[in-house]
Symmetry: C2
Subunit: 138 residues, 2 copies
Amino acid sequence: MKSHISVITLGVADLKKSTDFYENLGFPVERSQDITFIKVSKNMRMALYGLDDMVKESGVSTNTGDFSGITLAHNVISKEQVDSVIEEARLKDVEIIDEPQERHWGGYSGYFKDIDGYLWEVAYNPFSPEIAVDEDEL
Amino acid sequence: MKSHISVITLGVADLKKSTDFYENLGFPVERSQDITFIKVSKNMRMALYGLDDMVKESGVSTNTGDFSGITLAHNVISKEQVDSVIEEARLKDVEIIDEPQERHWGGYSGYFKDIDGYLWEVAYNPFSPEIAVDEDEL
C-alpha cells in the first residue's frame, strides 16, 4: 500500500453550516447536494459529509464511542487495486470492517481500521482521478 | 487563511505499536522519541502522537467525549503568521481554544475548533519548512 492520503473526510452534523464555516475561513468550498469538497493540496481534498451517512456507508458502530468522526481515504486507479490493497491488509492481520463493494456515489471501496480505531477507506472514485495513486507503478 | 493541511495527527495509545502497524502496511515511518512522521504527500505528513500528550498540549477536554483524537495542522512560515491567522479566526467568531504560545517541541502554535468540534492547530515549526504555507504570498 503506497503512502498517500487522498481525502480526509470530517463527519458533520449540518452540511450547510459546516460548509459555511470553512467558506468563511477563506477555504475554496465546492458544494454539491450531499458532500462538500475543499482542495487542501494539489492531490488531496478535505471533505465534509453528514456523520449519519458516513456511519451508514462504512457500517462502523458509533455505539461504543470509538468512531472518531473522521475517515482517511486512500484512492487508487481501479476496482482491482481496491481489492488487492484490502487483501494485502487482510494478510497482514488488519481488521477489514467493510468488504470492497459498489457505493451509491458511483465508486467502489472497502474499509479497514488501524489499531487505534481510525478508519481508512480504500477507494476507486472514477470522478477524481487526480487524487488517486497507481499501486502498480514502480 | 490559506487552504492547506500540513499535518494530520492521530492520537494513539501506544506509539511503538501504532508505528509498527503503519510500517507493516508499507508506509515510510520516521520514528523519533515521542512522535512518528509519515510522508503522505509532497507537502503533507501524517503524525502519530500519544493521545495523552495531545490532550495535554492543546488543553482540549476529552471528558465530554467531543475530541475526535485527530488534529489538523496548518503550518505557516513565522510566529507572526500564527498570530495573524488566529486573530483572523477570532474576528470571524471561531472558538479559539488555546492561544498562540511557545511549545515544548520547539515551535509556536495556537488551536481553534470548527463548529463540529474538530481541532485545528495553526503552527510555526522551524524544523519543517517544507510543509508550511506563506500566508502573505499573493
